[in-house]
């Protein structure tokens, strides 16, 4: 009896096994075909497209069509992409580009553009109305993308990978930071720059005190964001590096310094000139107030001593430095 039960049980096991295999095969078919032929992630991450130029065998779509995911409603589109397991990052790529295209089209076809022969006040009124609508659409697009995929498109143009060189320079100045922090810092810088240029564009070269106030507000917000993204020491390093680059072409290149001394001086410069209040002014485009310059030089003299300070003065202003030359000769 026991033997009979055992035989029946084994037969049942074999039958179950066969059924499971059959079911699994049926279910796994698309996945198995979808596996890339060879190269895979390593190739993609190293930036090399496969050198195998044989045509790729696409996945078996199994009746699946993009149309079932795509939707005229962005919310539905996003939800559908989520539903098929599309990663957040890819959803963002798809939605940001799609929304960008749609809004560009809407902006270009706004009905209130001036008529071709409109001139004088009629043109001015129509243009103002058009620009107002364009700004409203831009704001709507920004809010939409923030809501849909948590992406701030303000300053997006600059953020696009167009300028690898600019990106490299900024990374060099930011200092060694984790990648997500770099991204936040870049975003904060680009967003503020975009807002400032929007204000400047609106002012058409005639900045009113209230425009200046708005710019100041943007910058304050930017600094707050930077301070939130960076630790105190990272923020100090960033502002010191900005100062260091500032100093490089303003006399310090003439002085024999160790790396540590250079860093100390850059920190001093950043403190005196309050670089922490304007970290965006990386290359020091602003004319420095006289009293600040005097304060910096007084402290620099104390740090460098007379001879090296004279070297600095000579480098900074060779034409007016006979006194400096005398000091060096001593």
């Amino acid at each position: 009896m026991r033997r009979l039960i055992l035989t029946f049980s084994i037969v049942l096991n074999l039958a179950f096994g066969a059924m499971i295999l059959a079911l699994a095969k049926k279910r796994e078919l698309p996945h198995m075909v979808a596996t890339p032929p060879e190269s895979g992630a390593a190739d993609r991450c190293s930036g090399r497209a496969s050198t195998n130029h044989a045509p790729f065998v696409p996945i078996h779509a199994n009746g699946f069509e993009w149309q079932t995911v795509a939707s005229a409603s962005y919310d539905e589109f996003v939800a559908n992409l989520h539903a098929i397991g599309c990663p957040e990052r890819t959803i963002r790529q798809i939605i940001v580009a799609q929304v960008g295209r749609d809004y560009a089209r809407r902006k270009a076809t706004l009905a209130d553009a001036p008529g071709f022969w409109d001139a004088g006040p009629a043109r001015i009124r129509a243009t103002a109305a058009l620009e107002g609508h364009q700004r409203a659409l831009e704001a709507e697009q920004r809010a939409l993308l923030l809501r849909l995929v948590n992406f701030d498109c303000l300053g997006e143009k600059q953020a696009r990978g167009d300028g690898l060189i600019d990106q490299a320079i900024l990374r060099f100045i930011f200092g060694p930071l984790p990648e997500d922090v770099t991204e936040r810092v870049l975003a904060a810088m680009q967003k503020a720059d975009a807002q400032v240029s929007q204000i400047e564009r609106g002012a058409n070269g005639l900045m009113l005190p209230e425009d200046e106030g708005q710019v100041a507000q943007c910058r304050e917000h930017q600094i707050a964001e930077l301070k939130q993204a960076l630790t105190t020491s990272q923020f100090e390093e960033f502002t010191a590096r900005s100062s260091g680059l500032n100093l490089m072409d303003h006399g310090m290149e003439n002085v024999e310094l160790s790396a540590r001394e250079m860093r100390d001086i850059a920190r001093l410069h950043a403190t005196v000139f309050e670089m922490g209040q304007r970290p965006f002014d990386i290359f020091g485009s602003r004319d420095e107030p006289e009293e600040k310059a005097r304060e910096f030089e007084a402290q620099l003299l104390g740090y460098l001593g007379e001879t090296r300070f004279a070297q600095y003065k000579l480098g900074k202003n060779p034409a007016q430095s006979s006194a400096a030359q005398t000091a060096i000769a001593k």
């Binding site: 790529q93 799609q98 920004r142 990978g161």
Partner: protein, 414 residues
Amino acid sequence: MKSGRGLSVSLCLNLTLLGALALLSARRPHEIEAVPKPSAPVPDPDAISIPSVEPASAMHNTESRVALRWPQIESGDYRQYIANLRAIGCPEATIRDIIHAEVDELFSRRVKDLVDTVQYRFWDLLVSRQEFEDMVEEKHKQLNQLDDEREILLKELLGSAGTREGYRRDEAAFERETDQRRVLDFLPSEKLSGWLVMDAQFERARQELSDSEPRLEGKELQTRLQQLKEQQTRGCESLLSPEELVEYGLRTSKAAEIRFRLGAFEITETEMREVAAIEQRRAETRGGTARVQPAGPDTAIQDPDAQLKALLGEDRFAGYRLAQDTQFQEFYQVTQRLQLPEDAAVDAYAIREAAESAARAVKADTALSEEARREQFDALTHETEQALVSTLGSVGTSLYKNRWGQWFTAMGAR
């Protein structure tokens, strides 16, 4: 004993396999997982109201639910990824968006790798100028190389349309079409469509010529481009009626640009078109390219200014001239910015004219001593400033002086 253990094992296996079978059967293949709602709302910084949209709670087309999931579409190999996206009917533009963003991220990482090699030497490099300059030069070369590599990779993967250059061209084509639609809004829609198709074809032909491999030499390229241009002109002429062609010629002439420079000058569209036609004839007469001479033996009628006066009347003709004066436009911009009455610009312009005229008189007065001249210039500058402040206000005067006030400060130095 042995068979007893074997039976136990086999029975356990029975149960396990049965469970597995039940689990597999329960998960039907043609079903996707529950659709999550869109990601949590993000605070809207500008409090912009967005047109409300129905929150999606399920796939739009439930009939088409299939087992395919994104991880099956995505691939470690770009070419496979693209093939998979095409296989499910993903639009080319979306494929380009996805791959472009992927490639950008990849190269961003490569920039990071490149910078990381010198990142920790920042301060050392800053004190060694030569080393710093060498590093900058080397990295510059490497970054340019990366830029080229990115473009080549994009071209390999997506064709010319997928490169950054391709994107720029697309943007330019879009802008071009928008402009053309504006210029040609007088055409019936079929004609406009025909024109746009033809224009796009010629634009593509121009691009192909410029991109042809091996590259055409400068002179040959110019000749071929010129031939294309002539071909396109002939094409346009065959598409448009003579009247439409005249309108197109007028709209694309320099004279039509006057409509952007008339500031506060009140003028109707019909008048503006007529003004542009007169100015176009004036330009053609000057350049010796006049095709149509105005009718009538009276030379006064042929004189463009006389025609403009006849069209606008004496007073408005003066206003038309003034509106195009760049010095007037400067004041006009200030009044616009501060929403001052239009007359303020006219008054401020008159103040400038009077001041400059007075300054010339002071300069020409040889009887004046140097000191007396200086005093007169100072007094004139002061008076002019007072007059401007009373017209434009102190903010307006300050705005004006910061942007265009060089003449103002230079007046005393004459």
